[in-house]
C-alpha cells in the first residue's frame, strides 16, 4: 500500500472517530440536568487525536528505521552470504540492489545486485505490510480506547487543550532548533576546516586563491583578508555612500515636506524597490550598470577599469538598501518629540534649520542603528555580488577595480564539483561562520543603540 493511501486511511479513521465520539457526546448531553465541562466536539477531537497521533508517530519512527531493517534482513538471508565484507563494495552493491528493486535503475554494474534485487523487493514489501498493519492497529486501538473514555463526566477539553498547548510549545521550539542547527552545522564544518588550515592563517592571511590549493600548505592560498576587505568595501562603503544620503534625504522629504497625497504614493513606490528580488538587481547590475561603470572608468582615464567592478555591485546594492535606510530613518525621525521641533520653529528657525540642527541630531542614534542594520544586510547580500562582482580577490582601494566578497566566494566554492569535505568546501563553511558572527554582532549592536535611544525619549 502506498504511503499516501495509508495516510488517507488513517485520516479517515480519525474522521470516523471524531464523528462517532461527537455523536455519542451529543446523545448524553441531551439530559437536561447535568452540566458538562466539555463540548461534544471536544470529545470528537479527543478520539481523533488518539486515533491519529500514535499511528503517525509510529510511521515517523518507522520511516527513519525501516531502510536499515530491510538491509539487515537482506544481509541475514542465505543469498547474501557471498557479499564482500563491509566496505565500499558492499554498500555499492546494496544500494544498486535497492535501486533495482524500487525501479529507479534499469541495469546494474555488479551482477550480485541483480540477484539481491528480488530479495530486496520481497523484504521491502514485507516490511511495508508490517508497518501498514501496525499503524492501522495503533490507529484503531488508540481510537477505540479513547472512545471508551467518552462519558458524561469525562473532561475531554482539558486533554485536548493539553495537547494543543504541547503543539504550540513544540512549534516555538523550532526557532531554537533552527538556530542551533545553523550554529552547529557551521561550527562542525568550520572546526574540520581549522584542523587543515590554522585559524590565524585563515583570518589574517592576505592571499586568497582557492582555485589552486597546495596540498602541503592549503592555508597559504586561503587567507581571507582580501575577502573581508572586499565585502566591507562594497557593502559598507560604496553601498552606504549611495543608500545613506538617498535614504535619509528621502525620509526627511517624505516625513517633513511632502504633502499627504504625495507621501501616500511615494512611500509604496520606494517599498517596491525593496521587493524586487536580488537576482533581478544582480542581472541589472551585470548587464546595464557594470558596462556603464567601466566606460566611465575608461573615460576618466583609469587603467584598471574592470567590467566586474566593486562600484557597479556596490551602487546597485546601495539602491536596494535605500528603502530600508529610509524606513529606519523615518521611524527615528518620528520618534523625536514634537516639542523639540515646535520649539525650534517657534524660535524662528526655518524648517531646514530645524531638521539639520534639531531633528537629525536628536534622531542620530536611531539613524546610526538603522545604518548598522543596513550594513549587516548589505554584507550578507549574495546575488548582486555573485552576478556583478568578480571572483578574483584583491586588496584594492580603487572602486573601478574588481573585488570579491565573502558571499560570492561561498557560492563559488560550493557550486564547483568539489568533494564535500575538501578544504575548499569546508572553507565555505568557515566563511559562512565568519559572516554569521559579523552580522549577528552588527545586529546586536544596532538593536542596543536603537533601544537605548528609544528609552531616552520615552
Amino acid at each position: 500500500m502506498s504511503a499516501l493511501a495509508l495516510l488517507f486511511l488513517i485520516a479517515a479513521l480519525g474522521l470516523i472517530g471524531w464523528i462517532v465520539a461527537r455523536a455519542r457526546a451529543l446523545r448524553f448531553r441531551a439530559s437536561p440536568t447535568r452540566r458538562f465541562s466539555s463540548l461534544p466536539q471536544h470529545h470528537g477531537w479527543f478520539v481523533a487525536m488518539w486515533t491519529l497521533l500514535p499511528a503517525l508517530v509510529f510511521l515517523g519512527i518507522w520511516h527513519v528505521t525501516a531502510p536499515a531493517l530491510v538491509t539487515d534482513a537482506v544481509i541475514a538471508s542465505p543469498a547474501a552470504a557471498t557479499l564482500p565484507p563491509p566496505g565500499l563494495d558492499r554498500a555499492a552493491i546494496l544500494s544498486e540492489a535497492r535501486n533495482l528493486a524500487n525501479g529507479d535503475a534499469y541495469g546494474a554494474f555488479h551482477p550480485m545486485s541483480e540477484t539481491l534485487a528480488p530479495l530486496y523487493a520481497r523484504e521491502q514489501s514485507r516490511h511495508d505490510w508490517t508497518a501498514t498493519a501496525i499503524a492501522l492497529l495503533l490507529a484503531f486501538a488508540g481510537g477505540a480506547l479513547a472512545f471508551l473514555r467518552v462519558r458524561p463526566g469525562f473532561s475531554a477539553r482539558t486533554q485536548v487543550e493539553r495537547v494543543v498547548m504541547g503543539l504550540l510549545l513544540v512549534a516555538s521550539l523550532i526557532a531554537i532548533l533552527t538556530t542551533i542547527g545553523i550554529i552547529a552545522s557551521l561550527l562542525v564544518e568550520s572546526a574540520r576546516f581549522f584542523q587543515i588550515v590554522p585559524i590565524t592563517q585563515f583570518l589574517f592571511g592576505t592571499h586568497w586563491s582557492p582555485q589552486v590549493i597546495d596540498a602541503r600548505d592549503p592555508g597559504a592560498s586561503l587567507g581571507a583578508v582580501p575577502l573581508f576587505w572586499g565585502t566591507f568595501f562594497i557593502g559598507a562603503i560604496i553601498a552606504m555612500a549611495v543608500a545613506v544620503p538617498l535614504g535619509l534625504m528621502s525620509a526627511i522629504y517624505l516625513t517633513q515636506y511632502a504633502r499627504h497625497t504625495t507621501r501616500r504614493w511615494m512611500k509604496p513606490m520606494l517599498e517596491v524597490l525593496a521587493g524586487v528580488p536580488t537576482v533581478v538587481y544582480g542581472y541589472f547590475a551585470a548587464l546595464t550598470v557594470a558596462p556603464a561603470v567601466r566606460d566611465l572608468g575608461v573615460a576618466l582615464g583609469i587603467r584598471w577599469a574592470s567590467s566586474e567592478s566593486a562600484l557597479a555591485a556596490g551602487v546597485v546594492m546601495g539602491v536596494m538598501i535605500i528603502p530600508f535606510v529610509s524606513s529606519m530613518a523615518d521611524d527615528s525621525l518620528s520618534a523625536v518629540p514634537a516639542a523639540m521641533r515646535d520649539g525650534s520653529l517657534a524660535m524662528g528657525a526655518t524648517q531646514s534649520e530645524t531638521i539639520r540642527r534639531v531633528l537629525v541630531p536628536a534622531a542620530l542614534p536611531g539613524v546610526v542603528g538603522g545604518v548598522l542594520l543596513a550594513v549587516s544586510r548589505a554584507i550578507g547580500e549574495t546575488m548582486i555580488v555573485v552576478m556583478a562582482a568578480s571572483g578574483v580577490a584583491s586588496l584594492t582601494l580603487n572602486p573601478f577595480a574588481s573585488t570579491t566578497t565573502v558571499t560570492k566566494q561561498i557560492v563559488d566554492l560550493l557550486t564547483g564539483e568539489a568533494e564535500f569535505d575538501s578544504a575548499k568546501t569546508l572553507a565555505a563553511f568557515a566563511l559562512g561562520l565568519t559572516l554569521f558572527v559579523i552580522t549577528l554582532l552588527l545586529n546586536v549592536v544596532a538593536l542596543i543603540v536603537v533601544r537605548r535611544y528609544r528609552e531616552s525619549y520615552e
Binding site: 557551521l186 528580488p277 536580488t278 537576482v279 548587464l287 550578507g380 561561498i410 554569521f436 552580522t439
Partner: protein, 424 residues
C-alpha cells in the same frame, strides 16, 4: 570683593530692523538654503524612483520581445518522405512513430529546398520539426497533402528579425522578410530549460517554484502562527522564552545564504535528501520565512485589544478557546499579510537554493516533490550566465513574469490589509 556687579545699563532696545540690506540678505540666504534643502530631498526621492523606473523600463524593453517568436513559412510536402501507419498516429506512440519515420530530416530537407541560398535547414529552430509533429498529430492529412506551415526560426534569425542580430543573419532576414512573421511564443510558457534559446521556456521553473512554495507555506505558516500564539499569549516570562524570542529575532536578520549552508549541511549532508529537490528547497525557505511570519503574527496578535480576551474569559472560555475562537480570527488578516510578504520574499530568493544544488540544467518540469527541480529566480540566474545572445531577452522576459507574480502577491497583501484590518 563680592560686590554685586551692577547689571550693565540696558542698551537702548530697538526692534531688529529687518529692512536693512544686511538683514534682507541674510533672510534671502536662509530662504535659499531652505529651498536648496527641500530640493535636495525631492531629488533624493526622484532619484530613487527614477532608478526603479529605469530598471523596470530596461527589463520591459529587453524582455517584451522574449514573449514573441519569429516564424518562417515552410512549404512542406511530406508525401513519400515520411511514411507512417495512420493507426499509430493516435495515442502515445505517435511521437515515437513520427520521429522514427525521419520527420526531422524531412523538415530539414524541405527547408533546404525552399530557402537554399539563405541557409536552408540552419534557418530553423531545433524545435521546428516538433512543431510540425504536433501539427501532424492534430491533422494527419498533412502527411498526404502539400502545405505551408509556420515554424520557429533559429535563434540568430530570430534576433536579426527583432533588429538585434549579426550582419550575416540581418542579410538573410532582409531576403526572407516576406516569409517571416512574429507570433506569441506559447512555448515560452509551456516549455522548460533548453540549450537552444528558441526552445527555452519557464513552465518547468514555475512549477518548481510552485512546488517549493507549497512546501514552504505548508511548514512555515502553521509553525509560525502557532509559535507566535504561544509567545504572545501563553509563554511565561523566563529564560527559555527569552531565548526563543532572541533566536527568532536573530533568524530574521541572518543572511539568506547562511540558510543555504544549513540546508546543505543538514538536509543534504546529514539526512541525505535528494539534491536540488523542491522539498529540500521548500524546507530551507520555510526556515527562512518562519521568523518573518512569527514577527508579523506577534504584531497582529498584540494589536487585538485585551478587552476581547477579558470578555471571552468572563463568559467562561478556556485560555485555548479565548485564543482560537477570538484572538486568532481577529489577528488573521494581519498574519496573512505578513505571510504573503514573507512568501513573496521566499519566492524571489536565489542564494540559498544555489547552495542546495538547484542550479542544474533541468529540461523537464518536476513531477513530484523529490524530483530535481529549479525555480524561477534560479532559472533567471542560469540564463543570465548563458553566452548565447537569444537568452538575454528570455532572461528579461522571465524577470517580467517573476516581477508580475511578486507585484500581484504584494497587491493582495495590501488589499487584505486595507480591507480587513480593524483599527481598534
Amino acid at each position: 570683593m563680592n560686590k554685586p556687579v551692577a547689571p550693565p545699563a540696558p542698551a537702548e532696545r530697538r526692534p531688529t530692523d529687518w529692512q536693512t540690506p544686511a538683514m534682507q540678505r541674510r533672510i534671502r540666504r536662509r530662504y535659499a538654503a531652505e529651498r536648496r534643502f527641500r530640493l535636495l530631498g525631492l531629488a533624493a526621492v526622484f532619484l530613487s524612483a527614477a532608478f526603479l523606473l529605469y530598471l523596470l523600463a530596461t527589463m520591459i524593453g529587453q524582455g517584451a520581445s522574449g514573449f514573441t517568436e519569429t516564424r518562417i513559412a515552410l512549404p512542406l510536402d511530406l508525401r513519400g518522405r515520411v511514411v507512417v501507419n495512420p493507426a499509430r498516429l493516435n495515442g502515445a506512440g505517435a511521437d515515437l512513430a513520427l520521429a522514427g519515420a525521419g520527420l526531422e530530416n524531412a523538415v530539414d530537407a524541405a527547408a533546404n529546398a525552399a530557402y537554399p541560398r539563405q541557409g536552408g535547414a540552419t534557418l530553423l529552430s531545433d524545435g521546428a520539426w516538433l512543431r510540425v509533429r504536433d501539427a501532424i498529430k492534430r491533422d494527419p492529412a498533412l502527411l498526404r497533402t502539400p502545405t505551408t506551415i509556420d515554424v520557429p526560426v533559429a535563434s540568430a534569425i530570430d534576433m536579426a528579425y527583432k533588429d538585434d542580430g549579426d550582419a550575416a543573419s540581418e542579410a538573410a532576414v532582409a531576403a526572407l522578410r516576406p516569409h517571416l512573421s512574429r507570433e506569441l511564443n506559447r512555448g515560452f510558457f509551456a516549455g522548460s530549460d533548453a540549450t537552444d534559446p528558441t526552445r527555452a521556456g519557464i513552465w518547468g521553473a514555475l512549477k518548481g517554484s510552485l512546488l517549493t512554495m507549497i512546501v514552504t507555506l505548508g511548514l512555515a505558516f502553521p509553525i509560525g502562527v502557532l509559535s507566535a500564539l504561544y509567545l504572545e499569549e501563553y509563554a511565561p516570562r523566563n529564560r527559555w522564552t527569552d531565548l526563543i524570542e532572541v533566536s527568532i529575532n536573530n533568524l530574521a536578520a541572518v543572511p539568506s545564504i547562511i540558510f543555504g549552508l544549513l540546508g546543505l549541511a543538514v538536509f543534504l549532508g546529514t539526512f541525505h535528501m535528494p539534491r536540488s529537490a523542491a522539498v529540500v528547497g521548500g524546507l530551507t525557505l520555510a526556515l527562512m520565512t518562519m521568523p518573518v511570519i512569527v514577527i508579523a503574527g506577534r504584531n497582529a496578535i498584540t494589536a487585538v485589544p485585551p478587552s476581547i480576551r477579558d470578555a471571552a474569559r468572563a463568559l467562561g472560555a478556556s485560555p485555548i478557546q479565548v485564543v482560537f475562537h477570538h484572538v486568532l480570527p481577529l489577528a488573521l488578516p494581519g498574519i496573512l499579510t505578513g505571510t504573503i510578504i514573507g512568501m513573496a520574499r521566499a519566492l524571489g530568493e536565489t542564494a540559498p537554493l544555489l547552495m542546495i544544488g538547484m542550479r542544474a540544467f533541468i529540461a523537464a518540469p518536476p513531477g513530484k516533490l523529490t524530483d530535481p527541480a529549479t525555480v524561477l529566480p534560479v532559472q533567471i540566474f542560469l540564463w543570465s550566465d548563458e553566452v548565447q545572445k537569444g537568452f538575454v531577452e528570455k532572461t528579461s522576459a522571465a524577470i517580467i513574469v517573476l516581477l508580475v507574480v511578486l507585484l500581484a502577491m504584494n497587491g493582495v497583501a495590501i488589499y487584505l490589509r486595507n480591507r480587513f484590518e480593524t483599527r481598534w
